[in-house]
């Protein structure tokens, strides 16, 4: 404790990323903006073309616990969504069916993506973290959800696909009446 409170004798350097990593980060960023654009515009079946057949999508339940290890607050057994390709596809088809009352009329959604960080690549997989502010509106209601997303983007034949997503919500009890969306 005392050492950290004292002024350091030397500065600790922040390593500048390599140009190649910056280029990859740009690709990842463009990918996230593109998928947000598709989802906000309810091009849900087009979005399905951006995910891998073995996608693993989870939104763990967050607990309020007395622990500085923030990740420990997220359940490894309980989720607001826990999805594979087929279950995501079923959701998308239902939303577009004209029979899903929660999307009649469509929710007013907008995904603000920021704070994108990309780890140095590991084979074809890119670990990408981003922050998400999500606006949801229906009738007179307008609400904001806030989350971090930890994604794995996979490079296949020169294109990026979403292979894994962990959505870490800042909410314990979801403040909106339905999650008829993907975040």
């Amino acid at each position: 404790m005392n050492e950290i409170l004292a002024r350091p004798q030397t500065v600790r350097p922040y390593d500048l990323p390599l140009q190649a990593d910056i280029d990859l980060a740009r690709h990842a960023e463009r990918f996230l903006y593109h998928e947000a654009h598709l989802l906000d515009g309810y091009k849900l079946l087009d979005w399905m073309e951006l995910i891998t057949p073995d996608i693993d999508y989870r939104m763990p339940i967050r607990n309020i616990i007395d622990n500085m290890d923030i990740d420990a607050a997220f359940s490894d057994r309980a989720f607001h969504m826990v999805e594979d390709y087929e279950s995501l596809a079923a959701r998308m088809v239902r939303f577009q069916s004209g029979l899903a009352w929660s999307e009649k009329p469509p929710s007013r959604v907008r995904r603000h993506v920021s704070n994108i960080r990309v780890d140095p690549p590991n084979g074809d997989d890119l670990q990408v973290q981003s922050y998400l502010l999500f606006h949801w509106g229906r009738d007179e209601m307008s609400e904001i959800l806030s989350a971090e997303r930890r994604d794995v983007l996979r490079m296949i034949d020169g294109r990026l696909y979403l292979a894994r997503r962990l959505v870490l919500l800042d909410h314990v009890s979801i403040p909106i009446p339905n999650l008829s969306v993907v975040l």
Partner: protein
């Protein structure tokens, strides 16, 4: 609550309206305004949530000594904790010195709760353990008298922990009463009973708590409309959530104030809600009668509500078309936050003996169907928000708008009372009737119009 607050919470207008409701209910009429009314919300806190048995937790959520979770009954925040002595207590989260909360976080495992304000600490049994400077500053403090205040009554039925804030309430088994006959089908299938998987789903609905309670009492009529998409898409068999009015359907009304809606397979068909053989092989159903066993075996779906606000659904569904049906039990609680806002808590349960793989799949299917993101439940939120909205304004009151709960009354539908039904309650041979929901409101009305109790000052 003191007398002044108690009488202030029930205005003469409200007392008169409640008095009129007895006649209205007998005709299958329910006034719309009761789904969003500030005075009524306060009165319900006193007469229902302050007096009835309220579900707090499932015992598998706190298996070990020191395990605790925090849950509220309306505005009152309680710690549900298993003490070092193994006993489960429901303790008011308020330090006896100045009232600060003593519990950091909403779940965990602790030996003691330490108040942040002046440092009084309480054992996980609720006893006052230490008081800083106590030797000199609280020399004659009777520690036994200053422990965390427990809920006056805490009882457990088959793993379900209930509390009551009224120490004169009848025992929990009397409250559940004959409804045990139906509840046991869900909780006592296998020797190990049902186990909660993970933490409960929680979310807020823009609706009144009664919408959830009355719907799960047995609104079999809404699935063909509100949930048409899930049947059309193949996320549910037509048998589980299609049109009502099938020949094997049952409505059980007036069962100690509780109700349930049941869909069955034909006689002799072994289905067990859609549990696969490697799960249902564990269903020894010890202690159940032959009629209960027969019903369990033929069951497709049950929904039900234990008054006032604990509901259940036991069903087999899919998270994508073409996948095999996967059965699970969901317990859900509609906790009032305000007249038009409700926090849902929903637990997914599976038989303890089921494999971890099965439990994970059952959890996944439950989440994809009945949760804030559930393909069924997303749509319920829309219907119920509309009820609260239309109930909250002047129009419902000035026009004296009544809602129609008349399906199944004499001359309204073909539903007939089953004279030879083996189970308790009044059984109807059809789910095209609304006696299940009238059961909820009849019980609600009795609770709201009971003679005033003496309140501790």
């Amino acid at each position: 609550m003191n007398d002044a607050a108690s009488s202030a919470s029930i205005s003469p207008r409200l007392e008169q309206s409640l008095a009129r409701m007895g006649n209205e209910l007998a005709q299958g009429l329910v006034p719309l305004w009761i789904y969003n009314d500030g005075d009524l919300h306060l009165a319900e806190q006193d007469r229902i949530f302050g007096q009835q048995w309220i579900f707090m937790a499932h015992e598998t959520e706190i298996p070990d000594p020191g395990d605790f979770i925090v849950r509220s009954i309306v505005d009152d925040r309680f710690i549900i904790v298993r003490g070092d002595d193994g006993e489960v207590r429901v303790l008011f989260d308020s330090c006896r010195h100045r009232g600060a909360s003593v519990c950091q976080g909403e779940r965990g495992c602790v030996k003691a709760f330490v108040c942040p304000y002046h440092g009084w600490s309480y054992r996980n049994t609720g006893e006052l353990h230490s008081v800083p400077n106590g030797q000199v500053a609280f020399k004659t403090l009777d520690k036994e008298a200053w422990g965390l205040r427990p809920a006056p009554r805490v009882e457990n039925y088959a793993g379900l922990i209930f509390a009551s804030l009224d120490d004169s309430v009848a025992p929990l088994v009397d409250h559940i009463g004959d409804y045990r006959w139906y509840l046991d089908l869900h909780l006592k299938l296998s020797p190990g009973g049902m186990e909660v998987i993970g933490e409960p789903h929680r979310w807020y609905l823009d609706t009144n708590w009664k919408s959830g309670s009355e719907n799960f009492s047995g609104d079999s009529y809404h699935t063909q409309s509100l949930h048409k998409s899930v049947v059309t898409m193949g996320l549910s068999s037509p048998a589980a959530a299609g049109a009502s009015g099938g020949g094997n359907d049952l409505h059980i009304t007036e069962c100690n104030g509780h109700a349930t809606s049941i869909r069955r397979k034909d006689p002799g068909v072994r289905h067990f809600w859609g549990y696969p053989e490697d799960v249902s092989q564990h269903f020894k159903m010890e202690g159940l009668s032959d009629s209960q066993k027969d019903l369990a075996e033929r069951s497709v779906v049950h929904t039900g509500t234990i008054f006032p606000n604990l509901s259940l659904i036991h069903i087999g569904l899919m998270d994508a078309p073409g996948k095999p049906e996967c059965a699970y039990l969901s317990l859900r609680q509609w906790n009032p936050v305000s007249p038009s806002r409700t926090e849902v808590r929903s637990w997914v349960l599976a038989p303890k003996e089921a494999s971890e793989e099965y439990k994970a799949q059952a959890y996944k299917v439950a989440t994809a169907t009945f949760s804030v993101s559930g393909n069924f439940e997303q749509d319920d939120s829309i219907a119920w928000a509309g009820v609260a909205r239309s109930a909250g304004g002047q129009f419902a009151r000035k026009q004296g708008l009544m809602l129609n709960y008349q399906m199944g009354l004499e001359h309204m539908s073909d539903a007939r009372v089953l004279k030879d039904w083996d189970g308790p309650g009044v059984a109807y041979d059809s789910n095209l009737e609304e006696g299940v929901q009238r059961t909820f409101f009849n019980h609600w009305h009795r609770a709201m119009t009971r003679p005033e109790r003496e309140h501790v000052a």
